[in-house]
Symmetry: C2
Subunit: 730 residues, 2 copies
């Protein structure tokens, strides 16, 4: 029962650590009327007192906009959670078992609410920290960096710790109240199957966060750019642009809440998949400590992440702009290195020391499981570094891409697409080798532990992901409030490093999504008792082909959604400019709130169709065509979705950084800002925006959500031999 | 033995028909010094005699350029065929069986040479007919249309008839000389396995045609545009542009020879796959007539196509420009309708009337096979019509795409990519349903007959495909020779219809490639005795994932190849302009031949890497990791390649037609040629060019060639249980 001590304790440590960083952030006062406001800071930064007031006001506007989005989104989510709970309860209850149905629904609601809470904390701290980062950036790179990093850590640590603690207490609750009439092993198995509802809850909220949030952020961004930059020649983040607050809110909605919900979903699903698979093993399900193994890894991962984060904030603090990117990269590398022996200790102390049988494999040893975890952990690192290679302007691919702008936008687009395609090669080999090794060593359990491995250092990953948009917003505030130029330059440097790490984060998110959904796929397979998925069979191959098409369909839908939502924004901004000509001259303040409201409702409306595609496909395939066909669909969407997601997010990241590279004058003094080369690079960047921030990351949700829905509804689905519409005869 | 009469007779009819149309084309004289030159034609077309001389000269230049490319390509091909024959002979001979090795190699060489011959005929007639089409277009739409259509038919009919006759006599030769020591059924099986070398030969040449030719045509096109249009503001087809002849040669190299070689490969592979599978059935391999069933379908298809083509040339002749596209579409629809009862007759007279066993399915009847053929035949038509919907400016998708140009090139690119993704949905469902039905009815034999079905009206499909580039070239000649404006307008109308049918042809080529490679996959599976391909196994799933990545890798390689080859062209054109300033003023004639030579060598050099990827992957996967892994790779590359190919070719086609739609003034008088909307549409078109003409169609070769290589080398590969590097234990 050491697990019963370690998991809540380490989880609490994570929460306390997040609270401590939140407290440190709150010490920075931004309201000039606040008694504790440090006017000396402003003086040292050569800032006017009226500027201070502006910073405070803009920060409040972003905060209000973010709250407006959240409260609207919560209404949608409440309806969704309510309706889906009823469907889940009735479908599982009527076809399968009422006890399992009730517990699944409880787990689903818990998962949803935890994800919402974690997202809320992340959004609050991010909008709270952006003005503080701007103020601290006045004093130098170091203070600005530390402020943004700490705020990111609040998000990262509280999300993982919250998820861990809630999941742990949910298991305890289930253990106490689950009727033991089923007999011991069978009862455990059914209980953990019901627990998978937790993963479903997390993943459903991620659908809102990633897809809805992704549409929001790019609709606001593209809408603001199209009317502001192209039609009226305003700068980025010009306060006269009515859509500018929506754009800044979008960074938080998409990149903080969306990314957080996505990875919370991965965390919840990986844990559930691992526990469902181990509950089917007689050897593993006997001990509660062994069953909690994935949670122990996450708990230890929190401690490893706390240690790692001290390097950035206390030991090797950033002083110059060249230290920013290495400092963030060090975080990822150090956490991976530290996690390796820590994972060994977990395996050694919590897994059976003899040979055991799991997911149909006999003679599995704890050393093999350790290798599986390491495969996940280290392939995450390798994929991250490869992503950096393809998206950072420090390396050849982006430099070549910038060169291609010399012959115009078309060559930039062609080379960018090719770059994204090429960036698939090593990550896919990495994933394939990991799957091969882990599957060979421990079947689907091996794959599930690889997913746990890649996610074990999640607090650090999330910290770095959240860091970027906070700096981005800090830059926006500095521009809008008219802070001195050197502040904007500093926040730009902080943000540029954030762009690269954002790309790394996306690569990491996709790789983890691949492992997680494969683990869920494995859990689904063993729940349905399928011993093979033979693609020579008609239904399976047809499923594979259609499944491979789904990511294209889904991407097209999200890309068009961004277009439609952006158009709604364009119309609103045009209306404001024409009805109130004073806005452009700076005499009349624009109506920011209306733009926020339009982006909010457009994004939530536009996510319904893609969301329906993701949620209905596994149900239609599973119930009408049977589990064999659904297995084909899942495998197809997984294999094709990974490729499309990696190439979309890397292409977009590379275009963005190629533009920055050209702006920095790398092609020569006459080929910088305002040159035809720069124009060409802007077109690439605009094309890349929805690819890297909407459709690419949304594919993670597609492959994970389809898999977890299959798993949760598996008990209610027809058995082997086709579905309600098609029967197969063997 | 009715087959022994029907196949050579109908094949000969096809050849005679092609010869008759070639004769009719030759009656049009273009050399003004020719005694039979019809000066009246020129007078009626209000053309100067010096223009006549120019037409003749330009036509000759294109012809010389095409010959230069071909002779260079033949050198490469000769080396390749020689080397590959030795590898094939030694590998199969040493590991498997020397008799099979010799026969496979003979079949390989026959297939290669037939494909080369068919391609040569196609290229010759195309470059022969382009000036004649231009001359006839002076007299009206009808004469121009008929000239181009007839020339296309020469290509279409001679290719299929030649392939059919050579394959038939090869089978007779094999039957005569194959040692019967193996025992009856086993001997037949091994003999047909060796025959698969014919398909390999056809497909290898298609690699040169589609990939090398695809790089050639777009390198010349993009290179000519970049220096000509952007840097020196020359019109399309301006004779002062040194790359203009290379551009015109490229149309023939890529769209005539490449498309022809691709579909010849499909024809040869589908026939071989079908015969390999039927040779493994004791019921079917007993009768030579039944074994020749696929050839009978093709033979009957030739006659159906002859009847169909009379509608276009004699019954409903085109008179106005609005009749062009419907006339071509009628060809496809009528040939499909006529082929349906013809296929029934073939099934009724040549398949066993009782139940038989084939590819592991018992109780198969001729009615089921007829349904399989119809599934292929009609899904080809449906996919063609859907392709038309997504790429013709007569429908909403392209019109919306043109509208998106109002907000700049970036939205055009985003909407175009989304359009391509969406255009996957129905074709993939079509293919999946066909695979499901045919696989359920008759296993892999069903899929193979579906492939035969979709290809049965190939002569008509090829005719229409070849029609487009001939009209395109006719337009180029009209422009360069300075023919009256109405001639160029007419050839533009003829060409615009050709663009749409080219897209249909591409959709058809991809769908047939999918069926063909699946049939080859099936033949490979049964040759290796695999009874299932279980993707839950580590090797199979890893193979699936890596296989799904290959189309991205391959596409990126071909896209970059186009870029590199285009750059070589740009440098050469710039050099000519700077060294001879008289070229731009029209005083000095440019050096066309050098541009042709540069495009030729660059394209052939740049195809080596992608070619190596395609040819080595199945060998590495099969020999090192075993047939199970290779099966995964093939399935993965097939499922992912189909999606990527369809979306690439439809996106490109849609961008091209959106540009034409805007040029026609559909967005309003101020938004036509020269407007920002037009600029945006040009960027889309330029991005789409390599997608639709190089990387998209080249994916057909990827999926087919990998499958046929697997099949041909299957006997030499390790058996079930892993490969040389990795063993699996069951």
């Amino acid at each position: 029962m050491i697990a019963a001590i370690i998991i809540p304790t380490f989880g609490a440590c994570g929460l306390l650590f997040a609270a401590y960083y939140a407290f440190l952030t709150s010490l920075i006062r931004v309201d000039p009327k606040d008694k504790k406001y440090d006017a000396g800071d402003a003086l040292r930064g050569a800032r006017d007192i009226s500027v201070s007031q502006k910073i405070f006001d803009i920060s409040n506007a972003i905060s209000t906009g973010a709250r407006a989005f959240l409260s609207k989104e919560y209404q949608y989510m409440a309806v969704f959670i309510g309706l889906f709970s009823i469907i889940l309860l009735l479908l599982l209850g009527l076809v399968h078992d009422w006890v399992a149905a009730v517990f699944s629904t409880v787990a689903f609601i818990c998962g949803s609410l935890t994800s919402i809470l974690a997202g809320y904390i992340g959004m609050r701290i991010a909008v709270y920290a952006n003005s503080r980062t701007a103020i601290k950036a006045e004093l130098g790179f170091g203070p600005g960096f530390v402020t943004a990093f700490r705020a990111g850590a609040v998000m990262g640590f509280s999300l993982v710790a919250l998820g861990l603690i809630v999941l742990y207490f949910l298991i305890m609750l289930f253990n106490l109240h689950w009727p033991s009439a089923y007999g011991d092993h069978e009862a455990t198995r059914l209980m953990y199957e019901a627990l998978a509802g937790y993963g479903l809850g997390g993943s459903s909220i991620a659908l809102f966060g990633r897809v809805g949030g992704g549409i929001y952020t790019k609709a606001a961004d593209v809408g603001a750019d199209l009317v502001g930059k192209y039609e009226n020649h305003l700068n980025e983040d010009d306060p006269r642009n009515p859509a500018v607050i929506a754009d800044n809110v979008g960074d938080n909605v998409g990149d903080i809440a969306g990314m957080g919900a996505d990875l919370f979903g991965s965390f919840a699903e990986a844990s559930c998949a691992c526990m469902v698979i181990s509950s089917q093993s007689v050897d593993l399900s006997a001990s509660k400590d062994v069953m909690s193994f994935p949670l122990i890894i996450f708990a230890v991962g929190i401690m490893v992440s706390i240690v790692t984060s001290f390097i950035a904030t206390n030991i090797k603090v950033v002083k110059t702009k060249n230290q920013i990117e290495p400092s963030l990269k060090t975080q990822i590398i150090v956490s991976t290195i530290l996690m390796t022996p820590a994972a060994w200790l977990c395996c050694y102390y919590f897994l059976p020391h003899g040979e055991f049988t799991v997911s149909g494999m006999e003679g599995v040893t704890l050393i093999q499981i350790f290798v599986c975890i390491c495969c996940g952990l280290w392939s995450g690192l390798i994929i991250g570094l490869i992503t950096e290679y393809y998206t950072s302007s420090a390396y050849k691919p982006v430099q070549d891409l910038a060169e291609s702008c010399r012959t115009g936008p078309a060559t930039n687009i062609i080379y960018g697409l090719a770059l994204g395609y090429l960036s698939n090669i090593i990550p896919v080999f990495c994933i394939a080798i990991t799957i091969y090794i882990t599957n060979k060593y421990a079947g689907m359990y091996g794959i599930a532990t690889a997913a746990i491995g890649i996610l074990s250092t999640l607090p650090i990953g999330l910290t770095i992901d959240a860091y970027g948009p906070i700096c981005d917003n800090a830059g926006g505030i500095a521009e809008m409030a008219g802070m001195p130029d050197h502040v904007r330059e500093r926040t730009d440097c902080l943000d540029a490093a954030g762009n690269t790490t954002a790309a790394i984060g996306k690569g990491f998110a996709i790789a983890s999504a691949a492992f997680v959904s494969l683990a869920l796929f494995g859990a689904f397979i063993s729940t349905k008792g399928l011993t093979s998925v033979d693609i020579l069979q008609p239904l399976q191959f047809a499923g594979l082909l259609v499944g491979a098409m789904l990511p294209y369909w889904f991407s097209a839908m999200t890309m068009k959604s961004v277009g439609k939502a952006a158009l709604a924004m364009v119309k609103e901004v045009r209306r404001q400019f024409s009805e109130h000509p004073g806005i452009l001259t700076g005499e009349t303040p624009p109506d920011y709130e209306r733009c926020v409201a339009i982006s909010t409702s457009a994004s939530l409306r536009e996510m319904i169709l893609p969301g329906a595609l993701v949620m209905l496909t596994p149900l239609i395939a599973g119930f009408l065509f049977g589990p064999e066909c659904l297995a084909g669909v899942l495998a197809g969407s997984l294999t094709s979705g990974v490729q499309l997601a990696i190439s979309a997010s890397n292409t977009g990241g590379a275009w963005d950084n190629a533009k920055k590279y050209i702006e920095a004058g790398a092609l020569g003094p006459e080929h910088g800002k305002g040159s035809p080369e720069h124009e060409a690079s802007i077109i690439g960047d605009t094309v890349g925006d929805p690819l890297k921030d909407t459709s690419g990351p949304a594919l993670n949700i597609l492959i994970k959500l389809m898999a977890i829905i299959s798993l949760v509804f598996a008990p209610a689905m027809p058995g082997i031999g086709g579905g309600l519409l098609v029967q197969t005869h063997h």
